[in-house]
Assembly symmetry: C2
Homo-oligomer: 305 residues x 2
């Protein structure tokens, strides 16, 4: 009951947001060392044209390797039907499709309206029926808490689009604070409202730390029944349409906090910090964030951890 | 009921922890611009020998100025009876006395045992009776959540010392995470236990952001009845005995979060960010922390703020 999932999204969200292109072997090392630390959920790649995102050109190879690790839940992103076909062929367990609630963000990010994205999501859910293995479809509701381009994103719009993706066959609803606008009360109100239409399918949150509230918002999300949290090692990544962004929730700080809430992530923090060093050495030009890696763990292991 | 106090401690905790010595006029500008932003609680100085802390040599002058601002609650720190006499003479409304729960930290920080500090606190409470104006005595229970030197700090020890300071005449109990060790569940358990002996006198917390959890712990503290939060503009300051420290809770990020919890701080964030710029220009060699000053406020004002 106290178990909680930390989904490492650095290999996808992190790597596709930075300039450096990580070699395939470095990606596999990252996956292996995160696995070694106890991470059992990873979003490892994005199926997008290599011309647009050369960082993700080796997606199929990365997934193939990740699938060799026992009990690892492998998620990939697909922004359209073409990507979903590749994702299904890769054998990944879960496909996340970004559905921007803000029209302005949707047009900037995937060059189509939210309505068209819901149609595409529906087509992907149909395509999923053609493969033999079970695949879970995740709707990643982007800009769910506000948009840097459009401004306020009405909660009614989030509810409307969530209802549509659920009708289309969505298994898991994930709410993303793409712009780092979310505040604690908003998180509570939004989760309560989405819960009414999505029930237990509302499982996951994706918080950015742009305004320093990723962990604070995670506390509130946990208190409102969320058991899966996206995070990126060293906080790398973040949305290119959100100026001043300082990245995703930081995996190692998040794990420290969740364990310090009496929850169990299954992750060994010292090994995770070792994994961070490995990743850091393969991304010498990129900034990494987070406090725990600088300050280190407390010099005692309190009874509650 | 939804009002909450943010106590700016940067002029004391911040300035005494850094190398730069801020001029008196710059301190007064800081106080004025924080007041202008709506801050109504400030810890403005420390009454300590100027030889030890030259940063605080102008304490009496700073307090004198702060007392001219209507409705501003002025707090000062005094580590011993001599300092308390000066603090009482200054006319400050509240005196905070650090009482380290960890013996090792107490010996390093104030060169006496916790028991001796409680005796000194008792003597200060007696001295307070000699002045005509009402003065509140705050016991700042340092290392309440763990110590970098001693390691684990038993909760029983915190309860024992809190009971003693209450018997000595303490008006307000403040729990300080001097080392940035506190985690959410520990905050909840500690507040619950201290509440049993201190009742409504347990009013305040002082969190460090060393491991990134200051705001997350604040959420839990708020949910457990705390209505006064110490913070430092730009997060400057922190305990010199806590290696790797990245400072106090950041005032501007804290205010953003508290307002985003539906609480009222009475502080205008934009003016607070302007105050930060003023302080930053007078401390060119010091690092300032925090997210909001980099990312800026969201481009819409959500209805819940």
């Amino acid at each position: 009951m106290n178990n909680v999932i930390v989904n490492e999204v650095g290999m996808r969200d992190g790597l596709q947001s930075i300039r450096s292109i990580m070699s395939t072997s470095a990606k596999l090392k990252w996956i292996d060392s995160a696995y070694e630390a106890g991470v059992r959920h990873m979003e490892v790649a994005s199926f997008v044209p290599p011309k647009l995102l050369p960082q993700m050109a080796d997606a199929a190879e990365v997934v193939e390797h990740a699938l060799t690790l026992p009990d690892l839940t492998v998620t990939v992103l697909a922004p359209n039907l073409r990507g979903a076909h590749d994702a299904l062929a890769s054998g990944a367990h879960r496909i996340i499709v970004p559905v921007s609630v803000s029209s302005a963000h949707s047009l900037s990010n995937v060059r189509c309206t939210p309505e068209r994205m819901v149609e595409a999501f529906s087509e992907m859910c149909e395509a999923r029926k053609q493969v033999s293995q079970p695949v879970k479809m995740i709707a990643g509701m982007s800009t769910a808490f506000g948009c840097t381009i459009q401004g306020r994103v009405p909660l009614e719009e989030l509810i409307r689009l969530t209802t549509l993706v659920l009708e289309a066959g969505c298994d898991i609803v994930s709410l993303a604070d793409t712009t780092g606008y979310a505040t604690p009360k908003q998180v509570e109100q939004t989760l309560t409202a989405v819960r009414r239409v999505a029930g237990d399918k509302l499982q996951s949150v994706h918080f950015h730390n742009t305004r320093g509230l990723a962990l604070a918002n995670t506390i509130v999300a946990t208190q409102n029944g969320i058991r899966e949290h996206d995070a990126s090692l060293g906080g790398i990544g973040g949305c290119p349409f959100a100026p001043g962004v300082s990245g995703n929730a930081v995996t190692e700080d998040l794990v420290f906090m969740l364990e310090g809430m009496g929850l169990h992530t299954g992750i060994n923090i010292e090994r995770l910090l070792a994994c961070r060093e490995i990743v850091k050495s393969s991304l010498p030009d990129e900034q990494m964030y987070g406090h725990l890696a600088i300050a280190g763990l407390p010099n005692h292991c309190p009874t509650y951890v």
